[in-house]
């Protein structure tokens, strides 16, 4: 178990991490998600031991790694890290980079070959670093970090330079590898799709504060506040009274606000007993069509994601209803910390 308790780190002008507490169970993967400047990289550097916390402590199992009085140096933590800017050694080739941290020379070649194959870069083994593309360099950095067989793997935006098709394949391979080898992983990213795929837990950071810490489904369906809800996808924030029109008979508090995801609202034919609405705008996204609708009267604008062949046009009349299996989540607008 990797556990941080009340971790704080500040510069002279601003607080980068503010009283952060979290737990990542051994062998699981947690993703640190947040906008730029939220403290993701600082948290990873602090866990790695490259920076020290001003207050609080960090433990791996029973071992105290960091506190204001104690600091286990990074090279003795049994961890490795993939840097956002890769930081590959330009005077070594790909093989030299990947094998750099491997302790026993006998194991090095086998392990390097296996990792290069896992990440589909075997053909680059003897290439110089400055002859590689950004995506190839990123995979070499990943292989280098895995080669030292870490207890904890830290990754800072590990797939940002890799194209979408390859990324999906690598996700799957890396996920299986981490599971098979019991490696605890902490991944910083700003891509929530990456976070959903990878994570057993997601830590949501904003301005150095941890504002949500839950499994992916819970984060998406029951976020801690409106900001988290919007960060993870399109939202409709409706009062109980407004939502009651879409879901008659549901026990809702009229003044409370509820999160309703666009894909949980169904469009029906007008006059079928559902709430009447007019199409105000449509946007085609390929996998779905986003439709913005205005409820009859002075109701709020509602977003709906439609799949299927039907194309809606602005001004068209439709019926709206909440899917029966959808569970609207009451939203507290204040951050949950």
């Amino acid at each position: 178990m990797l556990r941080g308790t009340a971790l704080t780190r500040a510069t002279r002008t601003r607080t980068i991490l503010n009283n952060l507490s979290f737990e990542v169970p051994a062998g699981t993967t947690a993703t640190v998600l947040g906008p730029s400047g939220s403290g993701k990289t600082t948290l990873l550097r602090l866990v790695m031991g490259l920076d020290r916390p001003d207050t609080g402590e960090l433990r791996l199992g029973d071992q105290l790694l960091s506190s204001p009085d104690r600091h286990v140096p990074p090279q003795k933590r049994g961890m490795s890290m993939v840097f956002q800017e890769f930081t590959l050694f330009p005077n070594l080739d790909v093989e030299g980079n990947v094998a750099f941290g491997v302790k026993r020379a006998r194991d090095a070649e086998t392990r390097v070959d296996a990792l290069l194959e896992l990440l589909e870069i075997s053909q680059l083994k003897h290439r110089r670093i400055d002859n590689l593309s950004g995506g190839e360099q990123q995979r070499v950095a990943l292989a280098r970090a895995l080669a030292v067989a870490p207890r904890v793997l830290l990754m800072d935006e590990p797939f940002s330079n890799i194209d979408a098709m390859l990324r999906q394949r690598l996700f799957e391979r890396l996920h299986s590898y981490l599971r098979a080898n019991g490696i605890t992983a902490l991944v910083a990213t700003h891509d929530h799709q990456e976070a959903f795929y990878f994570s057993d837990h997601i830590l949501v950071l904003k301005d150095g504060r941890l504002i949500d810490h839950n499994p992916p489904r819970r984060i998406y369906e029951q976020p801690a506040n409106a900001w988290v809800a919007e960060f993870f996808g399109d939202t409709n924030l409706l009062t109980g009274a407004e939502l009651g029109v879409l879901a008659p008979g549901r026990p809702l508090q009229p003044a409370a606000r509820y999160l309703v995801r666009p894909e949980t609202i169904e469009l029906t034919d007008p006059g079928s007993g559902a709430a009447a609405a007019t199409v105000a705008k449509t946007v085609y996204y390929g996998a779905y069509q986003e439709v913005r609708l205005r409820l009859e009267g002075t109701g709020p604008e509602i977003r709906v994601h439609c799949t299927g062949p039907k194309t809606l046009r602005v001004g068209e009349q439709v019926g709206l209803m909440l899917r029966t299996d959808a569970a609207p989540h009451p939203i507290n607008d204040e951050p949950a910390d």
Binding site: M48, G49, L50, P73, P74, Q75, K76, G78, M79, S80, M81, F83, E85, T87, L88, F89, P90, N91, L92, F100, G101, K103, R144, A145, A147, V148, L154
Partner: protein
């Protein structure tokens, strides 16, 4: 690249190539080798051996001092580290020959003359004043790129020492080699130290051939021979690094967390960094102050002002001209389609810098001889312009390489963006490109100013009628054992150079 730019670049390169060609022409047409063979049978092997050994020994001594100082001040914390970080650059403000004279006088007092007036001692004294080149360049390389690699090593479970040995030192190698190259070229070009310690080097031989034997062909032949060693090294440097520097001067510097040493090791590190500063700067300065105190009340400041003005004019003028030419060459290399123009510029500028000062000076003396014979030609030979031409030809390489290194860190897409912006090229250059390479421009200007202000050999050989500079006066006073005025002039030179040298150290380390 436009035709106009091609023509202008070709003409500029021809100007830089002219001294070497002139020298070659004078040495071979007509081919008179009797004097050279006579020398070869007698003293020439000794001259060559002394020069090669002096350069090699000075470089070998300066290398551990410079690299060690850079390594200790970048990666470790010890008492006085901040102060020593700057102080280690200070010996660069003193002319090597004056430090040699201080130690020569000291040796006379203690009857150590044979020890000090020998090639090994001269190599040591030259290393003491020239190691800052290696120190500053290596430190810049460490600061600008290695903090991240040290951390990357830690994240892979690898400690400081192995990462230093396998990654940091190889990455800093091009910077160290460049420092060694500067030291060797300076040693081979040196006239003052060799003259003060009575050494027979090739530069001295060329000087004698010209001024004592009046044998122009022999002087040209010896000058070409003197140029061989630095030119071989320049070529070897190009071959070894293959144009790779692993770093650019626009990299954002980041120091790693410095390791705190144990009590005894910390004081050992402080002592190791203090020793070159004490021997190369503090001790000579004490002597200079003592000598200057003897002369201060009977000193005529007016003469000093003239020399000071000339020194400043030459330093600032050379810095400005080399920056303009360096910028022109660097932008041409950047705009060219293939690597040929870049290689051509690199080769010609390296050749002109690699030619020892005495070789360049002799070549320019041929040029002035020719200019006297043409109408109105004396304006070149009899003014500061001749020395300015010489220093500009010699030091444009610094400006061009520094600016090119800076431009390497600026994305070529920026040029495309500027072209699409709809404003003139000059506007884009002044408002966008130059501010991006402010650091390399300042570094080039400071380096050229410092080296030019201390420069002796070119001024001494070319000296236009009535021309004086601080470096020339210091040498002339010291030559006739007038140490108090020499000391006063040196202190003036120190005052001129101390801020530029400290600034140079800070800019190179990315801490302006």
């Amino acid at each position: 690249m436009s035709t106009l730019r091609r023509v202008l670049t070709g003409l500029a390169l021809a100007l830089f190539l002219a001294p070497a060609l002139l020298l070659l022409f004078r040495a071979t047409a007509p081919l008179e080798t009797a004097a050279l063979w006579r020398l070869a049978d007698t003293v020439l092997p000794g001259y060559v051996a002394t020069t090669v050994l002096l350069a090699a020994a000075a470089a070998m001594l300066a290398l551990p001092i410079g690299v060690g100082g850079a390594w200790l001040t970048t990666f470790f914390e010890f008492p006085g580290r901040r102060l020593l970080d700057s102080a280690l650059a200070l010996p660069l403000v003193l002319p090597s020959y004056l430090v040699a004279i201080v130690y020569r006088e000291l040796s006379h007092r203690f009857d150590w003359s044979p020890v000090v007036e020998s090639p090994p001692a001269a190599a040591f004294l030259l290393a003491l004043t020239l190691y800052p080149y290696i120190y500053m360049l290596t430190q810049a390389s460490f600061r600008r790129q290695t903090a991240g690699y040290l951390e990357a090593g830690w994240t892979l479970g690898v400690g400081r020492w192995r990462t230093t040995w396998q990654i940091l030192l190889p990455l800093a190698l091009p910077a160290m080699l460049l420092g060694v190259l500067l030291v060797v070229v300076e040693v081979v070009s040196d006239f003052g130290t060799a003259s003060a310690l009575g050494l027979r080097t090739l530069t001295i031989a060329v000087h004698r051939a010209w001024f004592s034997q009046y044998d122009q062909a022999l002087a040209a032949q010896l000058a070409l021979l003197t140029a061989l060693l630095p030119l071989l090294l320049v070529a070897a440097y190009g071959g070894l690094t293959q144009g790779r520097s692993f770093t650019t001067l626009t990299n954002r510097p980041r120091s790693p967390e410095r390791q705190h040493l144990s009590f005894s090791l910390a004081w050992l590190a402080a002592a190791a960094c203090s020793l070159p500063v004490l021997l190369g700067f503090a001790w000579p300065m004490l002597w200079l102050l003592a000598w200057a105190a003897e002369a201060i009340d009977r000193f005529r400041l007016r003469e000093l002002y003239g020399d000071l003005l000339n020194t400043l004019l030459l330093g600032i003028g050379t810095a400005a001209l080399t920056l303009l030419l360096g910028l022109f060459f660097a932008l041409t290399a950047r705009a060219a389609d293939g690597p040929h123009w870049r290689l051509g510029i690199l080769s010609v500028l390296s050749l002109t810098y690699g030619m020892p000062a005495i070789a360049l000076a002799i070549a320019l003396l041929f040029l002035t001889g020719w200019s006297y014979q043409t109408a109105g030609g004396a304006w070149l030979a009899d003014t500061l312009l001749l020395v300015l031409l010489a220093t500009t030809l010699r030091f444009t390489a610094f400006a061009s390489f520094s600016i090119e290194s800076g431009l390497a860190g600026v994305s070529p897409r920026l040029d495309d963006a500027l072209r699409c912006a709809g404003r003139g090229r000059l506007h884009g250059l002044l408002r966008v490109l130059l501010p991006q390479i402010r650091g390399p421009l300042v570094i080039a200007a400071l380096l050229v100013f410092v080296i030019t202000s201390k420069e002796l050999t070119l001024s001494l050989v070319l000296q236009p009628f009535g021309y004086g500079s601080l470096a020339l006066s210091i040498f002339r006073f010291a030559e006739i054992d007038l140490y108090p005025p020499a000391a006063l002039y040196t202190l003036s030179l120190v005052l001129v150079l101390i801020y530029p040298v400290l600034s140079l150290n800070r800019w190179l380390g990315g801490r302006p």
